[in-house]
């Protein structure tokens, strides 16, 4: 990997947004994901490489550390911020089609449920790993999921639920989604959700952490 791509990955992993950012303290004054991405583009590196061999690598590393409880939500947020700042520079290439995202992932917290921290983390991680994410927010009905799939053909769906009272809504949403679009993969997660529950309702995938979702989604396009 070229040196600058490794630096970009490092900035994302450690949440170094730009030169100005005081975080992390031991990188004070150094260039961040923002400047380095711009520099990489200026030196003629392919935007696709910057994304997949730089930014995404950093995001993957933080995802693994988060899964292992080595870092926590604040550090992940910093990584996501570094990532999204860098992505701004790549936007024109997404629009022109020079850089392709891996696919579209629709996510929402299911009807009746207002918890959004875990859902947001999954959303950031999946996006940071090269997917386009459509975040439908919280308290999302089956209809909304189905409409979003219609608007985004070929997409996959993630359902989040933090309550036993709302987890049961996953089953209904899953049925509606599959009826409208059988090929759409449905991933589920959240505090009370388990592998057993996934099997019981027949969802495609369960993971206790965002990195699992990323790995599964990537396996679909590998």
């Amino acid at each position: 990997m070229s040196e600058i791509l490794e630096k970009i990955a490092y900035c994302v992993e450690f949440g170094k947004i730009n030169q100005q950012s005081p975080y992390p303290p031991d990188m004070k004054g150094q260039l961040g994901a923002d400047e380095l991405t711009k520099e990489a583009l200026d030196t003629g590196l392919a935007p696709e490489d910057i994304l997949k061999k730089g930014l995404v690598i950093g995001m993957e590393r933080i995802g693994i550390k988060f899964r292992e409880n080595k870092v926590f939500v604040p550090q992940v947020l910093m990584s996501a911020k570094a990532m999204s700042t860098a992505i701004e520079h790549l936007k024109p290439f997404f629009q022109s089609g020079d850089v392709k995202r891996s696919g579209i992932f629709i996510i929402g917290t299911v009807a009746g449920d207002l918890h959004d921290i875990g859902k947001n983390l999954v959303s950031m991680m999946v996006e940071g790993n090269g997917w386009e994410v459509v975040d439908l927010g919280t308290d999302v009905s089956a209809d909304k999921f189905v409409n979003a799939i219609k608007d985004n053909p070929g997409s996959h769906v993630g359902l989040s639920a933090l309550l036993t009272t709302t987890m049961i809504n996953m089953e209904h949403i899953l049925k509606e989604v599959k009826a409208a679009s059988p090929e759409t993969r449905v991933l589920i997660g959240g505090a009370p959700v388990s592998e057993d529950f996934k099997n019981k309702i027949g969802a495609d995938f369960y993971s206790p952490d965002p990195q699992g979702a990323v790995e599964y989604l990537n396996s679909l396009v590998a």
Binding site: G15, S21, V73, P74, M78, L114, T164, T165, P208, D209
Partner: protein
């Protein structure tokens, strides 16, 4: 012995029979249980709970249908979740306190609840329950993601914000204590999710712990016992909670820690309240499973002192009323002596 005396006995690690217990309901669960019983239902009288809670999460002003302003002037949307709701709009969106007015704790609706509980339940253990104590209070003002990012990017601001909250809390404790009748204060602050701490131990120790200690000192100065409510996988912070002076920890969620192991490790240093699963046993278990789990808690933990029986959260609306009735029957009519 009064319920208050039993409760104190248990949280000071002395064997106490019957084992004291606390059962609380969300609005949805209470309505369902009430209609199952087909009459009126009182959370304290009809469960026989040992503690009453004068809560700062009550007495909010309804500003428009379903929307309530809390003591900090924050509007909560309770149209979906009627017990607590979610913040409608965070009043601070930049790392600056300019223009934000912290409330004074001179005259709060909770003071009336304290008086009322004093006269209705003089024999119960009486908690001042500060919902959204510190970390949660901070995120209710600035938003959870902002708070977490600013801990790293704008630490000075976060320290300042938290200090202001602590000043208010200490005043609240002191003013409440002046009324008399309180036995304890319970802090409510969720620091963890199902898989681990939200902000991690390092940031917790930097931002939360020293302030928690100040609040504990203020409570001890008023001769109050201290309860700490914290959901999620928070086991790694128990030694710190002991160090700052927490007496009783809840809700002791059995899905995220081996509660029997944890109890054994810390018994005599901190007491525990909770333990009956509201993620598994209560909503999905059979009556027999509810009964077995309840007896196990009473026999193995309750028999030793240092334990208050309770579900691992206020009961939610999905729990079959039959299971609730079974649990209440068991704890109300404890017969086994140890």
């Amino acid at each position: 012995m009064t319920k208050k005396e039993s409760f104190i006995k248990a949280i000071t690690f002395r064997k106490c029979f019957p084992v004291p217990y606390v059962i609380r309901f969300t609005i949805e669960a209470e309505e369902r249980y009430q209609s199952f019983l087909g009459g009126t239902f009182d959370e304290i009288l009809d469960t026989g709970s040992y503690a009453v809670f004068s809560q700062t999460n009550s007495g909010w002003l309804e500003v428009r249908p379903g929307y309530f302003k809390d003591y900090f002037g924050i509007t909560w949307n309770k149209t979906k979740d009627r017990t607590l709701g979610i913040v409608d709009r965070y009043p601070i969106d930049k790392p600056s306190l300019k223009g934000f007015q912290f409330p004074s704790a001179d005259d709060l609706p909770v003071f009336k609840y304290i008086e009322r509980n004093n006269s209705c339940f003089p024999d119960h253990f009486h908690f001042l329950s500060i919902g959204f104590t510190l970390f949660e209070r901070a995120w209710s003002i600035v938003g959870m993601e902002n708070l977490m990012q600013w801990m790293l990017l704008e630490p000075e601001f976060v320290h300042d914000l938290l200090d202001n909250i602590v000043e208010y809390n200490i005043k609240l404790i002191q003013e409440s204590a002046k009324i008399g009748g309180l036995d304890g204060v319970r802090f409510g602050d969720d620091w963890a999710g199902q898989n681990g701490l939200l902000i991690g131990g390092d940031l917790w120790r930097e931002f939360i712990k020293p302030r928690l200690m100040r609040m504990c000192d203020a409570a001890k100065a008023e001769n109050l016992y201290i309860g700490q409510h914290c959901c999620g996988k928070v086991e790694s912070l128990i030694p710190d909670m002991i160090e700052v002076g927490i007496d009783v920890f809840d809700p002791f969620q059995p899905e995220v820690m081996d509660i029997y192991d944890v109890f054994k490790s810390f018994n005599g240093k901190i007491s525990f309240m909770g333990g009956l699963s509201i993620q598994k046993t209560l909503p999905y278990g059979s009556i027999k499973e509810v009964s077995d789990a309840s007896y196990k808690l009473l026999d193995e933990l309750g028999s030793q002192g240092g334990y208050i029986f309770s579900p691992s959260h206020a009961l939610t609306g999905d729990i079959p009323p039959e299971n609730i009735r079974e649990m209440i029957n068991i704890v109300r009519h404890q017969s086994k002596n140890f």
